[in-house]
Assembly symmetry: C2
Homo-oligomer: 334 residues x 2
């Protein structure tokens, strides 16, 4: 039903190629013809069929984004940043929600490949080396965000230095004189979880504090895991006096457990965490936090894809192609 090149061509008694050339505006066409065509295009309300274009040009102008949970503000902001840059460059973003499910993530990857996306950004929850190889061996540029594959290979990757950030947060606690410092982190196949654990350990080690395995909780970055694990820790004979929560939800869950036990959050258990941003202005308890410039992560990830697609040098010295971009988190002690 929609009008196509050949309709315009027939109407003007010229060839399809000429109309195409006018539409694309790069090849040479006489002024006279061009004007005729432009007029007809307007008159007929012609708009190119992007599917046909994609087939012919072998580029879909589409980027795939796989995140575990779009309703998590972290990933929502990441998506927002990515989407904005995508749009700026004439690309669309296909949103895929893996729901923290490894198989679903892999399935999405394959489907996106079939869909001929031009690039892919993935916040992986997987640990499958074969799968990572498939991504990296694919013909399209890929960027890992938040978590990265634990394999010995080059890949693009945007996050913060989680190890250092966790180290700094733990130092914060140690400097306050705490020694009984627990950590609740996410599944260790997620590097963000693993590295935060590493930073915590290093801080303890460097300050002569023995690592107590009872103070290590492995959750899943969700509220319930924070609640459940903290509750258990508070029932141990040896209870922590401070906690490094690997993200905001874990912290909130832990707070619930703490309060249920009749303890006070700052006074009895001092909590620090990642990514606690209060956009209600109503949270009274102070939780020092390392917050990531999440939107920026999405922007940079998409920027890297575009640059790789264009094979251009990065204009900015901030980060390099085929490299890891490590952003600085902000320490917020509100």
């Amino acid at each position: 039903m929609p009008v196509k090149l050949v309709d315009i061509a027939k109407h003007l008694n010229i060839s399809v190629s000429t109309v195409s050339r006018v539409v694309n505006g790069k090849d040479r066409v006489s002024d006279e013809t061009r004007e005729k065509v432009l007029k007809a295009i307007k008159e007929f309300n012609y708009a190119p069929n992007e599917i046909a274009r994609s087939l012919r040009s072998r580029t879909s102008k589409t980027i795939g984004l796989i995140v575990p949970d779009i309703s998590n503000e972290f990933f929502a902001l990441l998506s927002k940043g990515a989407e904005a840059i995508a749009k700026d460059n004439g690309y669309f973003l296909i949103l895929c929600n893996s729901d923290y499910d490894e198989d679903m993530e892999k399935e999405y990857f394959e489907m996106l490949m079939q869909k001929q996306v031009d690039g892919i950004i993935v916040a992986t929850v997987c640990k499958d080396e074969k799968y990572f190889e498939r991504i990296l061996d694919s013909s399209i540029p890929s960027v890992f965000v938040d978590n990265f594959p634990q394999i010995k290979r080059n890949f693009n990757f945007v996050t913060i230095d989680n190890e250092k950030a966790a180290y700094d947060l733990t130092r914060h606690l140690i400097d306050f004189g705490y020694k009984e410092i627990a950590i609740i982190t996410g599944k260790l196949q997620e590097t963000s979880a693993l590295e935060r654990l590493g930073g915590w350990k290093r801080a303890l080690n460097e300050h002569g504090i023995k690592v107590n395995n009872d103070f290590i909780g492995i959750g899943d970055f969700k509220f319930d895991s924070g609640y459940r694990i903290m509750k258990k820790m508070l029932e141990q004979s040896k209870k922590p006096k401070a906690l490094l929560a690997a993200n905001n939800f874990i912290a909130y869950g832990a707070i619930k457990a703490i309060r249920e036990k009749g303890l006070r959050v700052r006074e009895d258990i001092y909590i620090v965490c990642f990514d606690a941003t209060d956009n209600t202005g109503l949270i009274s308890v102070r939780i020092p936090s390392m917050v990531q410039t999440t939107k920026k992560i999405g922007e940079i990830a998409l920027d890297i894809i575009i640059k790789r697609l264009n094979n251009k040098e990065f204009s900015s010295k901030e980060y390099k192609i085929f490299d890891r971009v490590i952003l600085e988190p902000t320490f917020v002690n509100a």
Copy 2:
């Protein structure tokens, strides 16, 4: 580079059509041939090019979703719901963030059409009748969510009964004995904002309370507008004693203004609002709220599209095609 039908065909010395038939599994092929082909497909790791499929079949298996702000939890949940149903039905979701910008929204619509999306869900911020006509006259199914076009025509639309919900919230205030009840709502071209204003007005009218124009604030659903307008209201000679905030952000902003003036939220100004969900568990101030089943809205919207695409009857009696789906919000008084 990727292997295609013709590669398989050549390798087996059979025709492309036969291979295609095996891939699609609907046409008849001899068991012998089928097995040969399936084996080759596996061996060569063949996966169909969806772009080519789309061109030929004139269906892109893609749905466009335009929202004002994906980082707003409301739209994030809506997207999540839509995405889940899309995936279940073999569709992808293209995410578009209009940033509350009318022109950008329109532009996105046109781009999505060029992209040959099979359907579109839009949380519009526009008031342009021409634009709405364009959407409705397009060949693809569309569903409006959150806001709907103010035109006399049939269209699909999923939300809550905003007028009634606002009425009920206002009643809640009136029942408490409040008479000086202000409202801060969004831009009135957004029907959610307009209808909430309407419900507020009706409640006042029906209870013999005169509508005071100084108690009507038109913001934009963002924190700052709530803050700014409440601040102004509190500097009026006649100050409100209660507030209906048209969404959570407005409420939070208003609370900031209230507290800055040294007033207490419940005692001095009683606030009710829409969509205040506390997933931190840390918000101590109680704000009675009408919360929408946002994820459900996304699911239903996408479901309607799929049903319209399949031209099937709705299996559920819950809602009808070519109709408005009005969901019940939940009154939360936590």
